[in-house]
Amino acid sequence: MTDLLAARAQMAMSLAFHIIFAVVGIAMPLLMVIAEGMWIKTREEVYLTLAKQWAKGTAIMFAVGAVSGTVLSFELGLLWPEFMAYAGPIIGMPFSLEGLAFFLEAIFLGLYLYGWERIPKYAHWFAGMMVLLGGTLSGIFVVTANAWMNTPTGFSIVNGEVTNVDPIAAMLNPSSFSQALHMTIAAFLAVGFAVAGIHAYLLRRDPDNLFHRRAFAIALSVGAVFAILQPISGDISAKRVAKYQPIKLAAMEAQWETERGAPLRIGGIPDEDAEETRYALEIPKALSFLAHFDFNAEIMGLKEVPREDRPPVIIVHFAFQIMVACGIVLIIAGLLGGWLAWKHKNLPTQSWYLRFITLCTPLGFIAIEAGWTVTEVGRQPWVIYNIMRTSEAVTPMPNLVIPFVSFTVLYIFLSIIVFVLLRRHIFQSPRLYDTV
């Protein structure tokens, strides 16, 4: 394993690990705030119990998210010092704002988790809202910094030196809005369905338990609403990528030739040596339409750039397909749930539907991991698109395989513990029944 590959593997592994916890930290407060708000409104004990139970599970995820996020902020320098020396000031604005937002989140989290008995109930609910706000904003700012790596703006290069840095322009780069929107919706969508899935599973074993019925109702509503919103943001993202990173789009679609009226490929196996994609189901002209709103628009193919400037097509193409497939299943799940609820004027607890939602539990998270694979691997071989190669950014430190293996072992260990603890926490859910 070369040092560059080890550094990339460590970064990828750290991000893949952190993002699960970060997303839970962003979206769970919404569920908790809804449950607590319902309690304040209806005074039904079950909602308070629910908010507290969710808060306990979330506390574990928060803690691991906070420490793994700290690791990442250091890893930027430990693994990519050249990138940071170059880009640090330019993307300083979103990172500074992220620090601020995360700070608010951490402060109000302490008040939320430990303040049930200590602060007035509206103050407590407000603390929950601040956790939600802080978490969501910090996610948005981090994604904004990443967006800059895809579409770097806000500076000029004179004789190889960075000058005229405009941090605000860098923050408001062309990908910021689309990426931040897509990721934020994804967070609520993934967590909504994951929580709905868990409670769907428990509802099948214990159908009358009010605790799970209320939990399922809240989580499924959140998941469904965001699932229905997501295709809009996906469309905005795709058009941005088509305009600003045509080679990434070509890799996502395994498009080798530049052509007008390019087809949308479903499945298919890209062959990087032969420079062609086999066995794909092609929908004629659909890619041109989706990317540019014009059936005959020109789509750039991978052959436009030399091989050393192309991302690994197989990974990007497959990851993109996985993301879209998961997204479609979740949209169907959301629409179906809404239709069942409307038709029967009741919580959709049909056995087959609960089973379906249970199977959907991991899909949102799989979609997020796959989506980030598209974004990050699709940007390769660049760390700053068309400006700095990943290989130029890496640290001169030798033996990087050692920290890579250490952090991998550490994170696998933590994942197992978190899984066991959450599982136990979930199976110890309260049993609350209607006394009527």
């Binding site: 574990i60 320098g77 940071m84 500074s96 951490a106 430190m397 920290p403 550490l410």
Partner: protein, 350 residues
Amino acid sequence: MLTLELCVAGVMLISLVIYVLTGGADFGGGIWDLFATGPRTKAQRTLIIQAIAPIWEANHVWLIVIVVLLFVAFPVAFAAISTALHIPLTLMLIGIVLRGSAFVFRTYDVQSDTTHRRWSRVFAIASVITPVMLGITLGAVASGTIHVDVKTRVVDTDFISAWFAPFPFAIGFFTLTLCALLAAVYLTLETDDPELQEDFRRRALISAVSVGAMAGLSFILSAEGAPTIRRGLGNAPWSIPFHILTGAVALWAIWTIWSRQFRLARLLVPIQVTLIVFGWGLAQYPYLVTPDLTFSNTAAPDTVLRPVLIVLSIGIVLLVPAFWYLYAVFKGTPRKTEAAAGRIDASRKD
């Protein structure tokens, strides 16, 4: 002249002070978990957890603030530090991860004594490793062994010799004693049980003496290990009055701990620690990473620093009241504790 980069550097130094006073004390809690002894071992550990639980996540963010400001405002220094000190920083990160995770696992795992002890042990050991590594990093930055070509940003390092030396290690253990002292002093006011209070009073005294010893050792080692700092600490016009002030506060703090004036001790010990950190900052000025990188030759352009300072100002307006409220809710003086402390004071005076 007060330049923009010095304003940012000032905020970083203040953040570091607050991190040591808050997050450092959380590490100290872990240290006293590791060294919990005597008939009240379990009570000591419970007290530590209760004291830390609501605030540690927020305390920890100060470190992130420092890192972010470092790479935004002084990118070349950030790159140089993270290249030359890759190993201690990685060990520190592993410590941070294990500590935070073990702490929350202990809170939420089954409440049996064996699982508790297991997580306790991980939490405690990580709480010792992390501040030592942080101190080693700061010591290495001060030692003048990280050579950087400012123009090409090339760091001349073998990745080991800059930090694997007596002076950085002395600073590492100095940091550890400071954390232990802060935690012990804070903990005296977290309980209304006079016996527990006595446990932490003894620990505070031991730590205070250790802090003095490590300060002395670090000073001696700085002659060889950090000549620039030594010049700053020894010869600058401000240095002698500053040392006298720090020393006086330290002795006064020890006296207050000894005489059980814990509320006064909780005021004086943080002042002492603040003076120590500021003294280091002054001694190192104008170097960020001795001997090649100064604040001015590594600073990002003003177009970057100005908006950062604006964000920081907004941040202060939002965060200070929030942070204060957090502490007011969880650290508001427990009346009973005050009464208990007063009782002991009174009985001693008799």
